[in-house]
Subunit: 174 residues, 2 copies
């Protein structure tokens, strides 16, 4: 499937409500659970998505759209959210994600991007030249990857509890 704005935005605008429906009010036994040492809980995943709203997608799109001499992206800090989420509740993070996402989608829609603009490029610090269209498609796929991760992390908490059904549930050993 090719990326286009309305289809991509349809997913982006649903992510905060999806995570809220999944996680708001759940006991910490679920929301703080991980897949083991140095892996992320549902709480951590939401914090990571917030950090992306602040520093990744729209800021990188701005770099591309500026068409300046310097189109290199600032490296993304995959661990900043541990610091930024400290002292916050999951409810606060879910609210923050919803409001940042709404703001960012208003910005994106306001740009009324043309095909020519979607073909403009930036320089990813590790991956090299990328287009704005690829950046926006990645924003969508990244959301979906983290929704899948949250569900998987939670499912794994019952890896033993399901007994012999484990062999029918590949998500428990992924």
């Amino acid at each position: 499937m090719e990326f286009d704005l309305p289809t991509g935005i349809a997913v982006l605008e649903r992510t905060p409500a999806t995570l809220r429906a999944m996680l708001a009010g759940l006991p910490p036994a679920w929301t703080d659970a991980t897949e083991g040492l140095e892996t992320w809980s549902p709480f951590d995943n939401v914090g990571h998505l917030i950090h992306g709203e602040r520093t990744d997608w729209i800021p990188r799109a701005r770099i591309i759209l500026a068409e300046g001499a310097e189109r290199r992206f600032t490296p993304y800090d995959r661990f900043a959210h541990f610091r930024e989420s400290t002292g916050k509740t999951l409810g606060m993070l879910l609210d923050e994600l919803a409001s940042l996402r709404a703001e960012n989608l208003a910005t994106l829609r306001g740009w009324r991007l043309t095909d020519a603009q979607l073909a403009l490029t930036g320089e990813h610090p590790a991956l090299g030249t990328v287009t704005l269209r690829q950046l926006l498609a990645t924003w969508v796929a990244h959301d979906l990857g983290h929704i899948a991760q949250v569900a998987r992390v939670m499912a794994k908490q019952y890896r033993e509890a399901v007994g012999p059904w484990r062999e029918y549930l590949p998500v428990l050993d992924r």
Copy 2:
């Protein structure tokens, strides 16, 4: 994590709203997308969950709780939903899932199951002896597995569109 009723039910009661937040109103390009031949779309996943509400979890729990001579479960038809979903819209399926789940959770809560009852057993046609506790834990993990699957199927539609970011998004090749 051990299975207990309030913690397990906290997930089960959120699944219909989670899938609604993710999928309601999305273009068919997303909701009918699959991972290739003989794999399931988001629409198929919702249909499959509905079939489980009708024929799997609560009916099997009833067999166990009856403590009869015959505790063998009816084999579960993993493909019945293709027939049952024919002619329905995704919106109809989301409504159906929500109402069946609410009914089934009312039944489950109404039973006020004791630890002794959770330890009762049934006979799975392929897996052998299983406890009610394992059945209920599987209901939860199965929901989460299908939420993860829906997100993964959708993400994969952008496998090419993300360009070089593909190597950072393991969900695209899972």
